[in-house]
Amino acid sequence: MTIAPMAQPTEPTSAPSPTPVSRKPRLATIWLDGCSGCHMSFLDQDELLITLAARADLVYSPIVDTKAFPENVDITLVEGAIGNAEDLAKILHIRRNTRLLVSLGDCAVTGNVSAMRNSFGVIPILERVYHEPALLHPATPQTDLPALRERVCPLHEVVHVDLFVPGCPPNAATIAYCLDALLEGRMPDLSQHTRFGK
Protein backbone atom coordinates (compact mmCIF):
# COMPACT_ATOMS: atom_id res chain seq x y z
CA MET A 1 0.00 0.00 0.00
CA THR A 2 1.33 3.41 -0.83
CA ILE A 3 0.57 6.34 1.38
CA ALA A 4 0.58 9.51 -0.64
CA PRO A 5 -0.63 12.87 0.54
CA MET A 6 -3.89 14.00 -1.01
CA ALA A 7 -3.41 16.35 -3.92
CA GLN A 8 -5.23 19.52 -3.01
CA PRO A 9 -8.43 19.59 -5.03
CA THR A 10 -9.27 22.04 -7.82
CA GLU A 11 -5.83 23.48 -8.27
CA PRO A 12 -6.17 26.96 -9.70
CA THR A 13 -5.14 27.21 -13.34
CA SER A 14 -2.45 29.75 -12.52
CA ALA A 15 -0.40 29.73 -9.35
CA PRO A 16 -1.94 32.15 -6.86
CA SER A 17 0.20 35.16 -6.25
CA PRO A 18 -0.12 37.51 -3.33
CA THR A 19 1.04 40.33 -5.60
CA PRO A 20 -1.10 43.36 -4.86
CA VAL A 21 -3.54 44.45 -7.52
CA SER A 22 -3.51 48.00 -8.79
CA ARG A 23 -6.96 48.83 -7.40
CA LYS A 24 -7.82 48.67 -3.70
CA PRO A 25 -7.81 44.97 -2.71
CA ARG A 26 -11.20 43.35 -2.12
CA LEU A 27 -11.37 41.41 1.16
CA ALA A 28 -14.08 38.98 2.29
CA THR A 29 -14.63 36.88 5.42
CA ILE A 30 -17.10 34.06 5.95
CA TRP A 31 -18.16 31.83 8.82
CA LEU A 32 -18.99 28.19 8.00
CA ASP A 33 -19.04 25.26 10.53
CA GLY A 34 -17.36 27.05 13.43
CA CYS A 35 -18.23 28.97 16.56
CA SER A 36 -17.61 32.56 15.28
CA GLY A 37 -14.60 32.79 17.60
CA CYS A 38 -12.29 33.53 14.66
CA HIS A 39 -14.53 36.45 13.70
CA MET A 40 -14.48 37.66 17.31
CA SER A 41 -10.70 37.57 17.02
CA PHE A 42 -10.88 39.45 13.69
CA LEU A 43 -12.93 42.16 15.46
CA ASP A 44 -10.41 42.16 18.32
CA GLN A 45 -7.99 43.89 15.97
CA ASP A 46 -9.73 46.99 17.36
CA GLU A 47 -8.21 50.22 16.01
CA LEU A 48 -6.20 48.24 13.43
CA LEU A 49 -9.56 47.72 11.69
CA ILE A 50 -9.53 51.42 10.81
CA THR A 51 -6.13 50.99 9.15
CA LEU A 52 -7.42 47.86 7.44
CA ALA A 53 -10.47 49.74 6.10
CA ALA A 54 -8.12 52.24 4.48
CA ARG A 55 -6.11 49.47 2.81
CA ALA A 56 -8.84 47.09 1.62
CA ASP A 57 -12.55 47.06 0.83
CA LEU A 58 -14.48 44.59 2.99
CA VAL A 59 -16.89 43.40 0.30
CA TYR A 60 -18.50 40.47 2.12
CA SER A 61 -18.57 39.37 5.77
CA PRO A 62 -20.97 38.48 8.61
CA ILE A 63 -20.30 42.03 9.83
CA VAL A 64 -21.37 43.82 6.63
CA ASP A 65 -24.73 43.89 4.82
CA THR A 66 -23.86 42.31 1.47
CA LYS A 67 -26.18 39.34 0.93
CA ALA A 68 -24.47 37.46 -1.92
CA PHE A 69 -20.79 36.58 -2.19
CA PRO A 70 -19.40 38.90 -4.87
CA GLU A 71 -17.09 38.22 -7.81
CA ASN A 72 -13.40 39.13 -8.06
CA VAL A 73 -12.48 38.92 -4.40
CA ASP A 74 -8.74 39.14 -3.74
CA ILE A 75 -8.54 37.60 -0.26
CA THR A 76 -11.16 35.53 1.56
CA LEU A 77 -10.68 34.47 5.18
CA VAL A 78 -12.76 31.36 5.84
CA GLU A 79 -13.63 30.39 9.40
CA GLY A 80 -15.08 26.95 10.09
CA ALA A 81 -15.06 23.49 8.55
CA ILE A 82 -17.31 22.00 5.86
CA GLY A 83 -20.15 20.44 7.86
CA ASN A 84 -23.24 20.54 5.66
CA ALA A 85 -24.42 20.77 2.05
CA GLU A 86 -24.70 24.55 2.25
CA ASP A 87 -21.10 24.94 3.49
CA LEU A 88 -19.90 22.91 0.51
CA ALA A 89 -21.91 24.94 -2.03
CA LYS A 90 -20.63 28.16 -0.46
CA ILE A 91 -16.96 27.18 -0.43
CA LEU A 92 -17.07 26.03 -4.06
CA HIS A 93 -18.63 29.37 -5.05
CA ILE A 94 -16.07 31.28 -2.94
CA ARG A 95 -13.15 29.41 -4.48
CA ARG A 96 -14.33 30.31 -8.00
CA ASN A 97 -14.48 33.98 -7.04
CA THR A 98 -11.40 34.33 -4.81
CA ARG A 99 -7.76 34.80 -5.71
CA LEU A 100 -6.30 33.90 -2.28
CA LEU A 101 -8.27 31.56 -0.06
CA VAL A 102 -7.19 31.51 3.59
CA SER A 103 -8.17 28.71 6.03
CA LEU A 104 -8.61 30.76 9.20
CA GLY A 105 -8.50 28.83 12.46
CA ASP A 106 -8.39 25.18 13.49
CA CYS A 107 -11.90 24.26 12.26
CA ALA A 108 -11.05 25.38 8.72
CA VAL A 109 -7.55 23.85 8.90
CA THR A 110 -8.22 20.56 10.74
CA GLY A 111 -11.97 20.14 11.32
CA ASN A 112 -11.27 20.65 15.05
CA VAL A 113 -14.26 20.63 17.42
CA SER A 114 -16.71 20.72 14.49
CA ALA A 115 -15.35 17.36 13.32
CA MET A 116 -15.65 15.66 16.72
CA ARG A 117 -19.02 14.29 15.62
CA ASN A 118 -17.33 12.29 12.84
CA SER A 119 -16.48 9.36 15.10
CA PHE A 120 -20.18 8.80 15.80
CA GLY A 121 -22.02 9.27 12.47
CA VAL A 122 -24.89 11.61 11.53
CA ILE A 123 -27.90 9.55 12.67
CA PRO A 124 -26.65 8.91 16.23
CA ILE A 125 -25.80 12.61 16.56
CA LEU A 126 -29.28 13.71 15.42
CA GLU A 127 -30.86 11.13 17.74
CA ARG A 128 -28.79 12.38 20.63
CA VAL A 129 -29.65 16.05 20.04
CA TYR A 130 -33.29 15.88 18.91
CA HIS A 131 -34.66 12.71 20.54
CA GLU A 132 -32.73 11.66 23.65
CA PRO A 133 -33.30 14.79 25.74
CA ALA A 134 -36.75 15.03 27.36
CA LEU A 135 -38.21 17.35 24.71
CA LEU A 136 -41.87 18.27 24.39
CA HIS A 137 -41.93 17.36 20.68
CA PRO A 138 -38.89 15.28 19.81
CA ALA A 139 -38.35 15.48 16.05
CA THR A 140 -35.42 15.81 13.68
CA PRO A 141 -35.81 19.01 11.65
CA GLN A 142 -36.66 18.11 8.05
CA THR A 143 -36.97 21.55 6.47
CA ASP A 144 -35.15 24.90 6.47
CA LEU A 145 -31.84 23.41 7.60
CA PRO A 146 -29.15 22.14 5.22
CA ALA A 147 -28.44 18.41 5.38
CA LEU A 148 -25.44 17.45 7.53
CA ARG A 149 -22.61 15.81 5.64
CA GLU A 150 -21.63 12.35 6.81
CA ARG A 151 -18.20 13.73 7.73
CA VAL A 152 -17.15 17.23 8.68
CA CYS A 153 -13.91 17.98 6.81
CA PRO A 154 -11.29 20.72 6.62
CA LEU A 155 -11.47 23.12 3.68
CA HIS A 156 -8.50 21.69 1.79
CA GLU A 157 -10.26 18.34 1.37
CA VAL A 158 -12.74 20.02 -1.00
CA VAL A 159 -11.05 23.15 -2.41
CA HIS A 160 -7.52 24.39 -2.95
CA VAL A 161 -6.34 26.49 -0.01
CA ASP A 162 -3.56 29.07 -0.42
CA LEU A 163 -2.71 29.79 3.22
CA PHE A 164 -3.30 27.95 6.50
CA VAL A 165 -3.66 29.95 9.72
CA PRO A 166 -4.02 27.54 12.67
CA GLY A 167 -5.27 28.66 16.08
CA CYS A 168 -8.44 28.33 18.13
CA PRO A 169 -8.88 31.13 17.46
CA PRO A 170 -5.81 32.70 15.88
CA ASN A 171 -5.32 35.82 17.98
CA ALA A 172 -5.96 39.32 16.66
CA ALA A 173 -2.24 40.06 16.26
CA THR A 174 -1.82 36.94 14.12
CA ILE A 175 -4.73 37.92 11.87
CA ALA A 176 -3.36 41.47 11.57
CA TYR A 177 0.13 40.15 10.77
CA CYS A 178 -1.31 37.80 8.18
CA LEU A 179 -3.46 40.46 6.47
CA ASP A 180 -0.60 42.96 6.52
CA ALA A 181 1.65 40.54 4.64
CA LEU A 182 -1.02 39.52 2.13
CA LEU A 183 -1.94 43.15 1.39
CA GLU A 184 1.74 43.92 0.86
CA GLY A 185 1.99 41.04 -1.56
CA ARG A 186 3.87 38.57 0.66
CA MET A 187 3.00 35.11 1.99
CA PRO A 188 3.38 35.35 5.78
CA ASP A 189 5.39 32.82 7.79
CA LEU A 190 3.12 32.15 10.76
CA SER A 191 5.21 29.51 12.54
CA GLN A 192 6.28 31.94 15.26
CA HIS A 193 2.83 33.51 15.63
CA THR A 194 0.31 30.71 16.06
CA ARG A 195 -0.17 26.95 16.35
CA PHE A 196 -2.95 24.37 16.61
CA GLY A 197 -5.08 24.99 19.66
CA LYS A 198 -3.66 28.44 20.41
Partner: protein
Amino acid sequence: MPSSVRVKTLRIDDLDVAGDEQQTIFDVAVEHAIPIPTLCHLDGLGAVGACRMCLVEVTSANQTRLQPACATPIEEGMQIVTNSPRLQEYRRMILELLFAEGNHVCAVCVSNGHCELQGLAQSLGMTHVRFPYHYPQRSVDASHRRFVVDHNRCILCTRCVRVCAEIEGAHTWDVMGASSQTQVITDLNQPWAEAETCTGCGKCIHVCPTGALFEKGYSVAEMHKRRQFLPYLRAMREREP
Protein backbone atom coordinates in the same frame (compact mmCIF):
# COMPACT_ATOMS: atom_id res chain seq x y z
CA MET B 1 32.24 3.82 32.66
CA PRO B 2 34.03 0.44 32.44
CA SER B 3 37.75 0.52 31.57
CA SER B 4 37.27 -1.56 28.42
CA VAL B 5 35.33 1.23 26.67
CA ARG B 6 35.89 1.22 22.95
CA VAL B 7 35.80 4.58 21.28
CA LYS B 8 34.27 4.93 17.81
CA THR B 9 34.74 7.92 15.59
CA LEU B 10 32.12 9.16 13.17
CA ARG B 11 30.86 12.26 11.41
CA ILE B 12 27.53 13.92 12.23
CA ASP B 13 26.61 16.61 9.72
CA ASP B 14 29.88 18.53 9.34
CA LEU B 15 31.30 17.61 12.71
CA ASP B 16 33.86 14.88 13.48
CA VAL B 17 32.82 13.28 16.75
CA ALA B 18 33.66 10.30 18.93
CA GLY B 19 31.65 8.20 21.34
CA ASP B 20 31.63 5.06 23.43
CA GLU B 21 30.49 2.08 21.35
CA GLN B 22 27.46 1.59 23.63
CA GLN B 23 26.09 4.99 22.73
CA THR B 24 23.44 5.61 20.12
CA ILE B 25 23.62 8.18 17.35
CA PHE B 26 21.13 10.26 19.35
CA ASP B 27 23.27 10.14 22.54
CA VAL B 28 26.32 11.42 20.67
CA ALA B 29 24.31 14.09 18.84
CA VAL B 30 22.93 15.37 22.17
CA GLU B 31 26.45 15.58 23.61
CA HIS B 32 27.41 17.85 20.71
CA ALA B 33 24.24 19.94 20.83
CA ILE B 34 23.05 18.69 17.44
CA PRO B 35 19.26 18.82 17.52
CA ILE B 36 17.29 15.76 16.38
CA PRO B 37 13.50 15.77 16.97
CA THR B 38 12.13 12.88 19.05
CA LEU B 39 8.72 11.78 20.29
CA CYS B 40 8.77 8.24 21.70
CA HIS B 41 12.30 8.68 23.09
CA LEU B 42 12.64 9.84 26.68
CA ASP B 43 15.87 10.20 28.62
CA GLY B 44 15.83 7.46 31.27
CA LEU B 45 13.68 4.94 29.35
CA GLY B 46 14.78 2.14 27.03
CA ALA B 47 14.71 2.96 23.30
CA VAL B 48 12.09 1.41 21.02
CA GLY B 49 12.33 3.51 17.84
CA ALA B 50 8.54 3.46 17.60
CA CYS B 51 7.73 6.89 16.22
CA ARG B 52 10.50 7.29 13.58
CA MET B 53 10.66 11.03 14.26
CA CYS B 54 14.44 10.82 14.86
CA LEU B 55 15.21 9.17 11.51
CA VAL B 56 18.62 10.23 10.18
CA GLU B 57 20.49 9.38 6.98
CA VAL B 58 23.29 6.97 7.86
CA THR B 59 26.02 6.17 5.34
CA SER B 60 28.14 3.20 6.28
CA ALA B 61 30.06 0.83 4.00
CA ASN B 62 28.93 2.85 0.95
CA GLN B 63 25.24 2.34 1.71
CA THR B 64 22.86 5.08 2.85
CA ARG B 65 19.94 4.05 5.04
CA LEU B 66 17.35 5.84 7.12
CA GLN B 67 17.73 4.76 10.72
CA PRO B 68 16.21 5.90 14.03
CA ALA B 69 18.96 7.83 15.86
CA CYS B 70 17.57 6.82 19.28
CA ALA B 71 17.91 3.08 18.64
CA THR B 72 20.99 2.84 16.40
CA PRO B 73 24.37 2.24 18.07
CA ILE B 74 27.27 4.21 16.62
CA GLU B 75 29.76 2.50 14.35
CA GLU B 76 33.26 3.40 13.25
CA GLY B 77 33.29 5.62 10.17
CA MET B 78 29.55 6.33 10.05
CA GLN B 79 28.55 9.46 8.12
CA ILE B 80 25.31 10.90 9.45
CA VAL B 81 23.02 13.60 8.10
CA THR B 82 20.46 14.81 10.64
CA ASN B 83 18.46 17.43 8.78
CA SER B 84 18.16 17.06 4.99
CA PRO B 85 15.09 18.24 3.02
CA ARG B 86 14.13 14.57 2.66
CA LEU B 87 14.27 14.04 6.44
CA GLN B 88 12.27 17.22 7.06
CA GLU B 89 9.62 16.04 4.62
CA TYR B 90 9.47 12.55 6.18
CA ARG B 91 9.25 13.96 9.71
CA ARG B 92 6.39 16.25 8.70
CA MET B 93 4.68 13.34 6.99
CA ILE B 94 5.01 11.16 10.12
CA LEU B 95 3.51 13.96 12.20
CA GLU B 96 0.63 14.40 9.77
CA LEU B 97 -0.05 10.66 9.83
CA LEU B 98 -0.12 10.72 13.65
CA PHE B 99 -2.60 13.60 13.58
CA ALA B 100 -4.73 11.90 10.89
CA GLU B 101 -4.77 8.56 12.73
CA GLY B 102 -6.12 9.73 16.12
CA ASN B 103 -8.51 12.39 17.36
CA HIS B 104 -6.10 15.15 18.36
CA VAL B 105 -8.31 18.16 18.99
CA CYS B 106 -5.77 20.54 20.54
CA ALA B 107 -8.33 23.23 21.39
CA VAL B 108 -10.11 21.03 23.93
CA CYS B 109 -7.15 19.08 25.35
CA VAL B 110 -5.81 19.14 28.90
CA SER B 111 -2.29 19.29 27.47
CA ASN B 112 -2.94 22.16 25.03
CA GLY B 113 0.19 24.31 25.03
CA HIS B 114 2.29 21.67 26.82
CA CYS B 115 2.06 18.81 24.32
CA GLU B 116 5.05 17.34 22.53
CA LEU B 117 3.02 16.35 19.46
CA GLN B 118 1.58 19.85 19.15
CA GLY B 119 5.00 21.39 19.81
CA LEU B 120 6.62 19.34 17.04
CA ALA B 121 3.87 20.37 14.61
CA GLN B 122 4.86 23.96 15.23
CA SER B 123 8.63 23.53 15.29
CA LEU B 124 8.71 21.33 12.17
CA GLY B 125 6.43 23.66 10.22
CA MET B 126 3.39 21.41 9.84
CA THR B 127 0.67 23.88 8.79
CA HIS B 128 -2.00 21.31 7.88
CA VAL B 129 -2.54 17.58 7.41
CA ARG B 130 -2.41 16.43 3.80
CA PHE B 131 -3.89 13.00 4.56
CA PRO B 132 -7.57 12.28 5.11
CA TYR B 133 -8.39 12.17 8.83
CA HIS B 134 -9.55 8.76 10.10
CA TYR B 135 -11.75 9.90 13.02
CA PRO B 136 -11.53 6.52 14.79
CA GLN B 137 -14.03 5.70 17.50
CA ARG B 138 -11.89 5.33 20.62
CA SER B 139 -12.72 5.14 24.30
CA VAL B 140 -11.86 7.06 27.45
CA ASP B 141 -11.25 5.12 30.68
CA ALA B 142 -11.90 7.34 33.69
CA SER B 143 -12.50 4.46 36.10
CA HIS B 144 -9.35 5.17 38.14
CA ARG B 145 -9.82 7.37 41.19
CA ARG B 146 -7.17 9.89 40.14
CA PHE B 147 -6.13 9.20 36.55
CA VAL B 148 -7.69 9.08 33.06
CA VAL B 149 -6.56 7.46 29.81
CA ASP B 150 -8.01 9.08 26.68
CA HIS B 151 -7.17 6.75 23.78
CA ASN B 152 -8.23 9.44 21.28
CA ARG B 153 -5.01 11.28 22.03
CA CYS B 154 -2.66 8.27 22.28
CA ILE B 155 0.13 8.01 19.69
CA LEU B 156 1.36 4.60 20.91
CA CYS B 157 4.82 5.85 21.85
CA THR B 158 4.79 3.26 24.70
CA ARG B 159 6.48 5.57 27.18
CA CYS B 160 3.82 4.57 29.75
CA VAL B 161 4.49 0.88 29.11
CA ARG B 162 8.23 1.34 29.49
CA VAL B 163 8.20 3.55 32.59
CA CYS B 164 5.77 1.18 34.32
CA ALA B 165 7.84 -1.91 33.52
CA GLU B 166 11.38 -0.49 33.68
CA ILE B 167 11.16 2.05 36.50
CA GLU B 168 8.14 1.26 38.64
CA GLY B 169 8.48 -2.49 38.05
CA ALA B 170 4.72 -3.00 37.95
CA HIS B 171 4.16 -3.62 34.21
CA THR B 172 0.51 -2.61 34.46
CA TRP B 173 0.59 -1.12 30.96
CA ASP B 174 0.99 -3.10 27.77
CA VAL B 175 -0.03 -2.96 24.13
CA MET B 176 -2.91 -4.91 22.60
CA GLY B 177 -4.13 -5.46 19.04
CA ALA B 178 -2.54 -4.64 15.71
CA SER B 179 -2.57 -1.94 13.05
CA SER B 180 -5.27 0.71 13.56
CA GLN B 181 -6.78 -1.35 16.40
CA THR B 182 -3.63 -1.16 18.52
CA GLN B 183 -4.08 0.38 21.94
CA VAL B 184 -2.42 0.54 25.34
CA ILE B 185 -4.15 -1.49 28.05
CA THR B 186 -4.01 -1.84 31.82
CA ASP B 187 -3.46 -5.40 33.07
CA LEU B 188 -5.50 -7.83 30.92
CA ASN B 189 -7.46 -5.05 29.19
CA GLN B 190 -9.42 -4.38 32.37
CA PRO B 191 -10.72 -0.98 33.47
CA TRP B 192 -7.82 0.88 35.10
CA ALA B 193 -9.55 0.87 38.50
CA GLU B 194 -9.59 -2.93 38.42
CA ALA B 195 -5.95 -3.31 37.37
CA GLU B 196 -4.48 -4.88 40.51
CA THR B 197 -0.86 -4.39 39.52
CA CYS B 198 -1.19 -0.58 39.32
CA THR B 199 0.53 1.07 42.26
CA GLY B 200 -1.01 4.46 41.53
CA CYS B 201 2.45 6.05 41.29
CA GLY B 202 1.50 8.34 38.39
CA LYS B 203 4.77 7.95 36.47
CA CYS B 204 2.88 7.03 33.29
CA ILE B 205 0.89 10.27 33.51
CA HIS B 206 4.00 12.40 33.53
CA VAL B 207 5.96 10.66 30.78
CA CYS B 208 3.01 10.73 28.34
CA PRO B 209 3.89 13.26 25.58
CA THR B 210 0.25 14.20 24.84
CA GLY B 211 -3.01 14.54 26.75
CA ALA B 212 -3.69 10.78 26.51
CA LEU B 213 -2.80 10.28 30.19
CA PHE B 214 -3.73 12.94 32.71
CA GLU B 215 -4.75 13.56 36.29
CA LYS B 216 -8.38 14.21 37.12
CA GLY B 217 -9.28 17.75 38.07
CA TYR B 218 -7.50 19.52 35.21
CA SER B 219 -9.28 21.36 32.42
CA VAL B 220 -8.13 22.54 28.98
CA ALA B 221 -4.42 23.48 28.88
CA GLU B 222 -4.01 22.94 32.63
CA MET B 223 -2.06 19.67 32.65
CA HIS B 224 1.69 20.17 32.99
CA LYS B 225 3.87 17.06 32.88
CA ARG B 226 6.82 16.86 35.27
CA ARG B 227 9.60 14.51 34.17
CA GLN B 228 12.57 15.54 36.29
CA PHE B 229 12.23 12.41 38.40
CA LEU B 230 13.09 10.04 35.58
CA PRO B 231 16.83 10.56 34.89
CA TYR B 232 17.35 10.77 38.66
CA LEU B 233 15.62 7.45 39.36
CA ARG B 234 17.50 5.80 36.53
CA ALA B 235 20.86 7.15 37.72
CA MET B 236 20.24 6.06 41.32
CA ARG B 237 19.20 2.60 40.21
CA GLU B 238 22.30 2.14 38.07
CA ARG B 239 24.47 3.00 41.08
CA GLU B 240 23.02 0.17 43.16
CA PRO B 241 25.61 -2.59 43.82
